[in-house]
């Protein structure tokens, strides 16, 4: 399967998961025990995090912008998701450069993943960018720092649940190559 088709399919799957299932979590009564602020996991930036290494920054920015706009039209928040994803797309290369031992051009035809990064660096990479995305998104959405405790709680709860789903995704879709050796 070519890289393009693979990433396009991944985009469709992650978007469908986000829109049809994860966005609906808050509609269930058990999602909010005892007045806990409504949290909502946004997993779809994972698509940006898993794009191949050799995508240039301007490409990442445009893909990020389009991803954000798609999400915006589903969630009726014109521009807020796009604003957060563009920031994630812009900083992705810098974070990867800081975490990877070799230069990024030395990983031809590869995508960031558990296999070539290891669990710990990948989790640092994804949790940092997801936390950034959630912070930007929820700050713009609420647009006031009056009850900052609520804002922080919402950001942290949402990031934690997002990371839970991302780890589940990784466990499901990472091929176990050296399972028997």
């Amino acid at each position: 399967m070519s890289t393009f088709v693979k990433n396009f399919l991944r985009f469709c799957i992650i978007m469908a998961l986000q829109v049809l299932i994860l966005n609906k979590i808050t509609l269930r009564w058990w999602s909010q025990p005892a007045g806990f602020p409504v949290f909502i996991p946004y997993v779809y930036p994972l698509f940006l995090l898993l794009l191949p290494f050799e995508v240039p920054v301007w490409g990442l920015l445009i893909i990020g912008f389009l991803t954000g706009l798609t999400m915006d039209s589903f969630a009726n928040t014109a521009g807020i998701h796009a604003c957060a994803t563009v920031l994630v797309a812009y900083l992705r290369t810098n974070v990867l450069n800081a975490l990877m031992p070799k230069n990024l051009s030395e990983y031809p035809n590869q995508s960031p993943g558990v296999k070539n990064m290891g669990w710990m660096p990948f989790l640092v990479y994804s949790s940092f960018l997801i936390l950034l995305h959630h912070t930007v998104y929820f700050s713009i959405e609420l647009w006031s720092f009056v009850n900052i405790g609520y804002l922080l709680l919402k950001i942290i709860a949402s990031t934690l649940t997002s990371m839970l789903f991302i780890v589940a995704y990784l466990l499901l879709f990472t091929r176990q190559v050296n399972a028997r050796s």
């Binding site: 808050t26 909502i40 915006d72 039209s73 609420l142």
Partner: protein, 284 residues
Amino acid sequence: MRNFILFIRRFFNLILFLGLEIVCIVLIARTNNMQGNDIMSSANTVVGLMYQKQNDVVYYFGLRRMNDSLINENAFLRQRLAKYNMYDTLKDSAVHQIVQQKDSTHVIKYADYLYRTAKVVNNSVSAANNYVTINRGSADGIGKGMAVISGTGVVGKVEHVSAHFASVLSVLSVKQKVSAKIKDGTTGYVEWEGNRPDVLLMKDIPQQVKVKKGDSIYTTSYSFFPQDVLIGTVYEIALIKKNSLLLLRLRPSTNFRNLQYVYVVENKMLGERQQLEDSVKAKK
């Protein structure tokens, strides 16, 4: 010139990044002053269709609950209909509701409301401004600014319309206040503080107003909603020390988590009223 091109090439990524962010900020600013663009909303045909397909699947799981609510609503409506037996409300789908006038003129006035049913295909409660997508659009006569109510209470106001879908800004929104009144006629605004979908606030009620826990709060005739639609019931009364005014916390009568069917209410007099009010404003 050469330096300029070199500068652009050197900072191309940064310039593109800033450009895209500016586009986003413009988009956000445009939606925040209530005049959003229809393409970037869930009233958009593609998004609407996707939500419709999903709803076709999920629909069956809520049938039992919906039947119960419909039976309750029927009972409530029969009860009210008994009062209006002398009027022929079945002539057409337009409902001639009497606007109660407590003045001495005893002129009975009619406000013409047209109720249209719509199915909810998408719903949210977690954002700061929550939207409900319904499967009726301009082809079915839905227009911007119409009120949306459910069988049990208020829902919101139509904000974006496409041919077959519309998205409704619900009462659970920090940018929309609803004009409301207590049983004794004191009016105020009901608003949402942006976090819990089962708490609404009514601020700035004078201390001498007699409110009890369990009192119902209704819509007034000032807003786009029809008069006397239930908003919620008071469950907590707090006194704000700073300005010695009361703060009422309400439980909304609509369960926003499991909305299934709603009514879009068209007020046929609203256009005339707004024209008059705008002309008064223009003179000032």
